[in-house]
Amino acid sequence: MAEEAKEQIVAPLVTRVPIKTKEELDTLLADRQGRGYYKELDAFPVDTEALKKTLEATFKSRLKTWLKICAHCGMCADACHFYIANDNDPEQVPSYKIQSTLGELVKKKGNVDNAFMQYCMDTAWGKCTCCNRCGMYCPHGIDMGAMMSYLRGLCFSQGFVPYELKIGSGMHWVYKAQMDVTVQDFVETCEWMAEEYEDDWPGLNIPVDKENADILYTINAREPKHYPEDIAEAAILFHLTGENWTVPSEGWEETSLVMFAGDWAGCKMQVESVFEAMERLKPKRMVVTECGHAHRATVTEGPYWAGIKSGDTPVPTQHYVEWLLEVLENGKLKLDPSKKIKEPVTLQDPCNYVRNAGLAEVTRKIMPYIAEDFREMAQNREQNFCCSGGGGMNALGRYREQRNIGLRVKRDQILATGAKFVVSACHNCWDALRDLEEEYKIGMKWSFLKPIILKMVIVPDHLKPKAE
């Protein structure tokens, strides 16, 4: 025991608090695949007193009633893609996943051991993507996704969080972004992209920190880090539509691995960085990139974390698809109908801005502009199944196999449409679809909206490059 304690002082990979310094973050990153982290977690004690206090302070009406009145009817079972993908395994019934974790935790008033907390962790992150689908089918209106998210918060506060999300949370605290992209990195990427594409798009500019713009555009850190073309594509489309837009040098990160991790203090910190940019630059509105959980974190949940009573963002906010539909409908952006996708196309509805933000019809209205043969999945709009990569699951090595099993439901949905092309205006869905193709090789293509639109766009003469 003494030796264990000594070891923890030397290498405290597991802690009950978020990582807030670059040094700690680097230590954790050096522990490849989290082998040392999970080993340390196996011996990490549960602070039962703290757990009890947190439960007393935060386990109120809504959650209490949900646990109490669950009729154990099982109507949530086949609402869950993990239940279906795992051949109707009873242990995947959403209600069971909650009753056997949070239910027990409450019953025992937080007096639980390490093995139990690991079971909670493996359930909260390995068997649920917090897609909130099951809650829609519950006769009592019990939102098990919301409960699972609450459970994640309890787990995080005890240090029981998957390795990658401990890092993700730390990234937000250190960089105010889910990846190590500094303000300088971001601004330089914007400059680089503007230069890179300027020859093809004369006058292309990515205005940084412009005050009183019509649109403040915010993104996902993966874009500057791994897919800078995405920023260029957004810039080109704003350029073509003549929008008065800007990006903030600070507060550009919309995503929230802190939300996936259940690090509520981190959620507040992150979203406030975006809201500060709004207040600093005073745009008319904000547009969020093609990401689902970014919208959920910053627009849907964010105002509450920031303590805004109305639940509204400081300036009105739209998802990228809302802006896109607007410029298609008002004619600012014109597409060449002969360039529509000829092969059958289907649409992946992201849970976070469809079921959880009501944008189901927006993407559907975009489809006739880009597809000749659009086909719905059997379960669509709010009823759609999660891609299986939501809730942070795409990133978690420990649950990769479970994620891949879950992908089968999406695979079968796509195959049933006969479509070979999947439109996915969400980073998480996009990743899950990429992995789906890699894992199951069904011969499909998938894409964000921006590249599709750019292939079809009619460029006004005055914006075309001057002929040599």
Partner: protein
Amino acid sequence: MYEFVRGPLALISFAIFFIGIIVRVVWYVKGLDWRLDRVAYLEKADYGIRGALKSIFHWILPLNHTTANHPIFMGATYLFHICLLTAPLLLVAHVMLIEESWGISWPTIPDTIADYMTLAVIAAGGFLFARRLVLPYVKILTTGSDFLVLFIALAPFITGFIAYHQLMGYKFWLIVHILCGEIMLIAIPFTKLSHFVLFFCSRAQIGMDYGIKRGGQKGRGVAW
């Protein structure tokens, strides 16, 4: 004995029932927290009320996807609840007792119909009982208290049926029937039977959640 269960005990159980369910609702509403729940209940009350009503409406009537996906179970559940609530409330003998005690009364249904409704409750209850034993996805959720609660809800109907048809000693079964009814009333605020009122609270809350935060303001809200 009859005088006691029909008189003071009835009064006590009605009192516990009414006070109990009121306390349940008050506690529920008091415990709602815009910050913890992340729903602007008061600031966006208009959207909230619309969402709450929509949510309750779609489930009071079988206008939801769950009914479409599981017509047999949901059909049995609707039948169970409709008969369980209306038969005792509109039974001639019950209304007469109320009139005798409190001088108020309301329309009744013929005994034959009440009799069929009673059988429907017992049959649907039997179905709910059986699926707990048979279906793996229900079995794993089921606890002893689920059976107990179902038994508490069914007992007044089984005993009432026996008493009404005078299948066995009438006086004895009448007293047992009244006792079972009283046990059910008392159990409502303290067990899962509290969904008698908390169903509406919970449905209203999730309706407000979707109506205010998750799509309602985009003119959509969830399609239950």
